[in-house]
Amino acid sequence: MKLTVNGEAYEAKRAETVTSLLEEMGFGGRAVVVVLNDEVIPAVSRDACGLREGDCIDLFRLVGGG
């Protein structure tokens, strides 16, 4: 399935949900927030949130800052 992740093309191998995409990309268990097609996906909704061809996903995390 062809997706856009953080502005770059990404070919999902097996992922069908947000949770499985994070695991496939190596972000499972890390503190990231997911934006799917400009909509923030709460962490509790990731398992049930299915992906479709062409979806745009943005992933953010906290970093050091003043």
Binding site: V5, N6, E8, M25, G26, F27, R30, A31, V32, V33, V35, V40, P42, A43, D58, L59, F60, R61, L62, V63, G64, G65, G66
Partner: protein, 268 residues
């Protein structure tokens, strides 16, 4: 006799009670261990963090991992990187998902050369976020008129700059800060520009409720020792403010010791 600085001088922002009047930023540290050590040494209870897109390399250093495991710290995501109100509002919503607290430092500085906060976009973002229930702490120009407007739309505190971010220019805005402090009904926190603990002490002496530092600690020779020095300075400045600083002498000397002329013996 009750001594000051014994924990009876808490301040409240966003419905939470804090004893430390030093807020810490977590940027610019060379490694996670130093950053966490500095936060601990500072005694800070409010710590700022930033929000960034995750890189494609999944094993990026997790600077903040150890911070999450410290107790008693309120993480306050900032909106740095936002160039306007709409981007800041979006960043705040994402930060709330990640930080787990409604505290947000609204920070909108579109010009990378001077990093001065945009007053109009800051006001608009603060208005929207306060209405959504965020605890809004705006980084702002030291402008008493804007301060009142931000207070009126529901900000939880005011965070005027002492001087430009990372400049170490100190309390260049002292005159305006005094006007803001005189009229504010919410906490005033000097954010940005402080270089040394004496400047933090001066801010507290003039009546600021707290200060926020980052570069002054992270870019110092020994960040952990400097964080501890800032903690002491903030306590000293606050206690001096509470004690009531003596008025200026107006250029006239006033003797401390009695000036009886016992040496010459005149008048005896």
């Amino acid at each position: 006799m009750e001594r000051q600085g014994n924990g009876q001088d808490d301040w409240i922002v966003g419905g939470r009670r804090f004893s430390s009047r030093l807020l810490m930023g977590t940027g610019k540290f060379q490694d996670s261990e130093t950053m966490v050590g500095a936060v601990l040494a500072s005694g800070a209870q409010i710590v700022t963090v930033a929000l960034r897109r995750v890189g494609r390399v999944s094993r990026e250093d997790d600077m903040l991992g150890p911070l999450h495991r410290l107790g008693g710290i309120t993480l306050m995501p900032n909106t740095s990187g936002a160039r306007n109100a709409a981007e800041a509002v979006r960043a705040a919503r994402l930060g709330r998902e990640l930080g787990g607290s409604p505290f947000v430092k609204v920070e909108i500085h579109p010009n990378p050369h001077h990093l001065m906060p945009d007053p109009i976009e800051t006001f608009e973002a603060a208005r929207v976020l306060a209405a959504e229930g965020f605890v809004v702490m705006p980084y702002m120009p030291a402008d008493p008129v804007l301060a009142r407007r931000l207070e009126d739309v529901g900000c939880a505190s005011l965070m005027p700059l002492g001087s430009a971010i990372g400049s170490g220019g100190g309390l260049a805005t002292a005159e305006m800060l005094r006007l803001i402090i005189r009229d504010a009904r919410i906490p005033v926190i000097v954010d940005a520009g402080l270089r040394s603990p004496s400047e933090a002490a001066a801010a507290l002496e003039m009546g600021c409720d707290a200060v926020l530092v980052n570069s002054a600690v992270a870019a110092s020779g020994d960040p952990i020792a400097m964080a501890a020095a800032f903690a002491q300075a903030v306590v000293a400045g606050r206690n001096a403010h509470r004690a009531g600083i003596m008025p200026r002498g107006g250029g006239t000397a006033l003797a401390t010791s009695p000036l009886t002329e016992f040496i010459s013996g005149e008048g005896t």
